[in-house]
């Protein structure tokens, strides 16, 4: 295809992506270098029946004028990055000096909002992704051996957790594990603990969110693996059987190697999607015990305590750096593959 034609075909799509994906990445960085204006103060003489005194008042007109003139706020350099709500450099240092051992140090670090969110985001990403692969693989093996008539309905039901809106899916589970809901009440009865509440304990909340994550994403891995299983060459399996391979050995040495590209594909998509975990935290109202990077950005923008563009921008830039770290191995791999093919 001629370069000119290519350009015109791709143009609308490219413009949309540059305007609303590439530019915002730049603008969050600029935004993160500024912080909100403080209120402009003025001194006025207020005179009452008991004489005059000087009072400090907020100059409303001047404050709003300043906001209008410089909506970004005032320049703060990397100040927002290093403050307590983000990388918390000074807090980290003082915690290091004050802590007798590692566990005290970690618990102090965990109390800083950014590290708290980072801890949950990473835990969620790196626990949910392998579990999704595992569960999806076993469901695929199971469904593959069902009689043909049952496969369709099974796939239909299996797709539901994935297709449903994440916020709605998490709400549905949240209502069930409520202490007055079916699962919550059953657990209380099973463990004989009438005060058991899944919402109250941070550890249980984390487990709950992870279970939700696996429930939501396992269908995706299942469908991809299931399609992959249809393409496993039957000759190879037959040959392995003639050589006396057991069922386990056939799965391990014939089926699994055939599925490796799919494992890479699912892991890539899952890492990207799990790293931005956000809706379940809103749905489960879990912010007291688990926050994610996406959630703290959302909280800065629409949390109800006002909008903090500088703070949201700084967290966004740090999140984007995190995504970059996750993606680099994949990009290098794809790059090498492409160059090998080109040669």
């Amino acid at each position: 295809m001629k370069n000119r034609t290519f350009f015109w075909f791709i143009l609308p799509s490219l413009v949309a992506m540059v305007l609303f994906i590439a530019l915002p990445i730049g603008s969050v960085f600029i935004q993160s270098l500024y912080i909100e204006h403080g209120a402009v103060l003025k001194e006025v003489k207020s005179c009452g029946p008991f004489g005059c005194k000087d009072e400090v008042q907020i100059d409303v007109a001047a404050t709003s004028q300043l906001k209008e003139e410089k909506p970004l706020g005032k320049f703060n350099g990397f100040g927002t990055y290093t403050n307590r709500n983000h990388l918390a450099v000074t807090e980290l240092k003082s915690a290091w000096n004050d802590s007798a051992n590692w566990s005290i140090y970690f618990s102090k670090v965990y109390n800083l909002p950014f590290y708290r969110a980072l801890a949950f985001t990473l835990t969620y990403t790196f626990i949910v992704t392998p579990l999704v692969l595992l569960l999806g693989f076993f469901i695929a093996l199971g469904v593959n051996s069902l009689p043909k008539k049952l496969k369709g309905p099974t796939i239909f039901v299996s797709l539901l957790p994935m297709i449903v809106t994440p916020l709605i899916g998490s709400l549905i589970l949240f209502w069930m594990i409520d202490s007055k809901g079916i699962l919550g009440a059953s657990l209380q009865w099973l463990l004989d603990d009438p005060n058991l509440s899944l919402k109250a304990s941070p550890a249980l909340t984390w487990i709950m969110l992870i279970i939700y994550g696996v429930w939501h994403s396992a269908p995706f891995a299942f469908i991809v693996f299931y399609a992959g299983l249809q393409t496993v060459p039957s000759e190879t399996i037959e040959a392995a059987m003639i050589d006396g391979a057991s069922r386990w050995e056939r799965t391990r040495y014939v089926v699994l190697p055939h599925l490796v590209p799919l494992i890479v594909f699912i892991s890539l998509i899952q890492l990207m999607d799990n790293f931005r975990v956000f809706e379940p935290i809103v749905g489960f109202s879990a912010q007291a015990s688990a926050t994610s990077l996406s959630w703290i950005i959302y909280n800065d923008l629409a949390g109800g305590e006002g909008t903090f563009f500088g703070s949201a921008g700084a967290t966004s830039v740090l999140t984007i750096l995190g995504v970059a770290v996750l993606l680099i191995p994949v990009l290098i791999r794809t790059w090498n593959d492409f160059n090998r093919k080109a040669v």
Binding site: F9, F20, I139, S145, G152, I168, F265
Partner: protein, 293 residues
């Protein structure tokens, strides 16, 4: 020989059945339970005494006189004007799907036919864009949108969602167009068509299966979105998902939870129907990028 492959011990077969059954209950039961419960009163769905009341509807019978009640639906759709949110969702979703597909087919076709190195770089760039958490992008829009008075309008949310969906749409349509033989449009060009004419006359008539599948995923992305719609729309033109989230702020009032439950079931129903009719396309779409790669 194939008989040998399918021969299995009985206990192993039983194990597989139990496992698949367990999964089906895990995947399907929550929806069934919530749908059933949405026709009850709060005292039954969140029963202090015994969760079995949710099945029999004891308190529902006492409060409303029958075992099923549509109060939750009435409250959500009419009292809390959920219909408005449903209408907004419809406008947003239809627009996003149409615009995404228009831009995506042109771009995806070009990427599939180019063969140049920069097409590969663009695809890699799209992959990087696909990985960006949506909320980080939104935090870049918010301030300029406030300044330019673009915030709070449906068209803004639509355009933003189209852009956010583009990387995915491009990848998917690109892989569909790779499956359409090159000779088709090239022979049209030999006969004197320009590239665009070849695309319109030869490729467009045969591209619909791929476009429909991609359209389904664009639909799901727009329908399920919370991040963009919750931050870029104001209360008066909210779509369904943020509207449901806003019900939760007021859960303390008796009965309001049931509004949320009814709204959740209402919002899930179209997705059920979608999966029912387009199961094959969804499955093929999920695997399109993967099996070849």
């Amino acid at each position: 020989m194939s008989e040998l492959i399918h021969r299995r011990s009985k206990s192993f077969t039983a194990l597989i059945w139990v496992f698949v059954l367990f999964w089906i209950i895990l995947a399907g039961f929550p929806f069934l339970w919530t749908m059933w419960g949405s026709f009850k009163v709060q005292g039954d769905f969140f029963s202090k005494a015994d969760w079995a009341y949710a099945i029999s509807g004891l308190r529902t019978q006492i409060e409303t006189g029958s075992s099923f009640t549509g109060d939750g639906y009435h409250g959500a759709w009419i009292t809390k004007s959920f219909w408005q949110a449903a209408l907004n969702t419809m406008i947003v979703v239809v627009s996003v799907v149409i615009i995404s597909l228009t831009l995506g087919t042109l771009g995806g076709y070009a990427l599939a036919r180019s063969g140049k190195k920069y097409a590969f770089y663009l695809l890699m760039l799209a992959l990087v864009f696909r990985a960006m958490p949506h909320i980080t992008l939104v935090s870049g829009y918010l301030l300029p949108f406030f300044e330019w008075n673009l915030w709070g309008h449906l068209p803004t949310a639509i355009i933003v969602m189209v852009a956010i969906n583009q990387p995915f749409t491009l990848w998917m349509l690109h892989s569909f167009f790779l499956n359409i033989p090159k000779d088709l449009d090239e022979s049209a060009m030999v006969d004197g068509c320009t590239r665009f004419q070849a695309f319109r006359r030869v490729i467009v008539p045969v591209m619909w299966p791929g476009v429909i599948t991609t359209g389904l995923f664009s639909f799901l992305l727009a329908y399920n979105d919370f991040t963009v719609t919750a931050t870029l729309l104001n209360n008066s033109n909210q779509t369904m998902v943020p509207k449901i989230a806003s019900f939760l702020g007021t859960t303390q009032v008796e009965g309001n939870v049931m509004f949320a439950v009814a709204a959740v079931v209402s919002a899930t129903a179209p997705l059920f129907i979608l999966v029912m009719f387009f199961q094959r396309q969804i499955v093929s779409g999920l695997t399109a990028g993967a099996v070849k790669g």
